[in-house]
């Protein structure tokens, strides 16, 4: 299926010359981004590059110090209220069942609708469980369903796969891609996994020190196989872009899964050794480990 095949009910997301300061710490320094309706933007960067802050500005958890953000549907209406977020942690209410977690804050959504969406993420048989008995992947799917139940125009995904194990992560990535194609929302994914960004994004931008240092449009059919040479080449190029920037603070990038060390310093070392061959895929054995 081509990326344009899905129905375009998404909104245009725009950031214009956005600056954000927390105290005297400059987190964003002049971000300009525009995501057309129904497109998938992946934002990668090191920890502290400001990528999560972009999402926090868009969902109204923070306000930009300077510049402006907007979320408008194709007819020009402000649809900021139709932005939904999936966080790195599922953030489910432990005292409510899966079903009523999904209905949270959705005054107009019927139980029927919540059931339907939960069925869509493969949890039709766990409606009345408490989140405490679900696995990490299942909880994240509940969080996805909770966002989907509102028929969002824009879905913000803040490293939603980072805490999942390698196999669950692949399943979750596919699920998000298919839900995005099916529902047609505009998606903004923040991740520190460059390959993930290349696999999912129509556009990939690299953020460093609060600035966009690289923009790529990925014109490949979906679903994209990670073995494709274009994917590998692009992943390597973007990693290069990230790693070639001068590093001020020591990298605080941690992988939540200790069996899969995706630390950038490791990439950097391997990159230095193998740069001539232009193969930087030392994270690949890590994936096979999970297979």
């Amino acid at each position: 299926m081509s990326p344009t095949a899905h129905r375009a009910s998404g909104a245009t997301v725009r950031l214009q010359n956005v600056y954000k300061e927390f105290g005297d710490r400059q987190v964003l320094r002049g971000i300009d981004l525009e995501v057309p309706p129904g497109k998938f933007l992946a934002i990668v960067g090191r920890s502290g590059s400001g990528k999560s802050t972009v999402l926090r500005l868009l969902c109204g958890l923070d306000d930009p110090t300077r510049g402006s953000t907007s979320v408008v549907d194709p007819s020009g209406n402000d649809v900021r209220g139709s932005v939904r977020v999936v966080f790195q942690e599922p953030r489910l209410l432990p005292w409510r069942s899966v079903l009523s977690n999904v209905s949270l804050g959705a005054r107009r959504t019927s139980n029927h609708r919540a059931r339907e969406v939960l069925g869509g993420v493969g949890l039709a048989d766990r409606l009345h469980e408490y989140p405490g008995v679900l696995s990490g992947g299942e909880r994240q799917r509940v969080a996805l369903a909770r966002a989907l139940v509102h028929e969002p125009a824009v879905m913000l995904l803040d490293e939603p796969f980072a805490a999942l194990d390698a196999l669950t992560r692949i399943g979750a990535q596919r699920l998000v891609e298919s839900l995005w194609m099916q529902h047609g929302f505009t998606a903004l994914l923040v991740t520190h996994d460059v390959e993930e960004a290349v696999l999912l994004g129509d556009y990939v931008v690299v953020l460093d020190e609060g600035r966009v240092i690289e923009r790529v449009e990925v014109n490949l059919t979906r679903p994209r196989a990670r073995e494709r040479p274009e994917i590998r080449r692009l992943t390597a190029r973007l990693l290069d872009a990230i790693l070639s920037t001068p590093r001020q603070a020591p990298p605080a990038v941690q992988s939540p899964d200790p069996s899969c060390k995706r630390d950038f310093s490791e990439f950097a070392q391997a990159g230095a050794e193998e740069r001539d061959g232009f193969r930087l895929f030392i994270h690949e054995p890590c994936e096979e480990e999970g297979t």
Partner: protein, 270 residues
Amino acid sequence: MRTARSILARAPEGLLLRTLAPWLAPLGLVVAWELLARARMIPPTMLPAPLSVLAAAVRATLHGQLAMHLGVSALRAFGGLVIGGSIGLVLGFATGLSRPLQLLLDGPLQMVRAVPALALVPLVILWLGLGEAAKVFIVAITVVFPVYLNTFHGVRSVDPHLIEMARVYDVGPRELYRQVILPGALPSILVGFRFALGLSWLVMIVAETMGASEGLGYIAMNAREFMQMDMLVLTIVLWALLGKLADVLARRVERWLLPWLPRLQRLDVA
């Protein structure tokens, strides 16, 4: 997966042992006590035998006063618990939800907390006399603080991630309180109440020894006056049993109100 619950359920003999185990030690003690008393190794004037304590219990029940005294005591403790608990709850929510109120109230409350409630007894007697009000007052003021502290702590320890999520999902202030903050604080609040329940029993006896004409404390004082050792021991045993009963009830309530908490869904020893 399938939690610890099913693992335990698969071991019925373990369950039986777990149910009986807590009773073994007290039972053995009572048997030993009875045997020693019969062998005249414990003089009855020092400690009456269990059977004579039981006889005293039967006597007191038949005369109709024991149930009444117990009822009066329970009512006092419960009244104090409700009044003090409500005050603690309101104060805890106020300081937990609002920084200015915390600044205003928490300091003074901590100062009052440092005063032992029993040090207030003479003052309370002068204020309220020796009647019911004084006893309920003593219980209430003791109970305020555990409830207050745990409510405050509970409200403050609600996961800020959940509050942030609720904001993004358009949950209004009322719903935020009802669906996120209250249930999030509830486990801690219930811990406060359980603790308060124990405390209320504790201060009751003191309250009842200051010139009461009924209640468990009154029976104990009366028994001392007349050297009725069996009645005196009976009150102590009743105290222990009622305390245990209150605790079991509190656990039941906890399990009923917090069905989602994994630690409560285990088969714990009641």
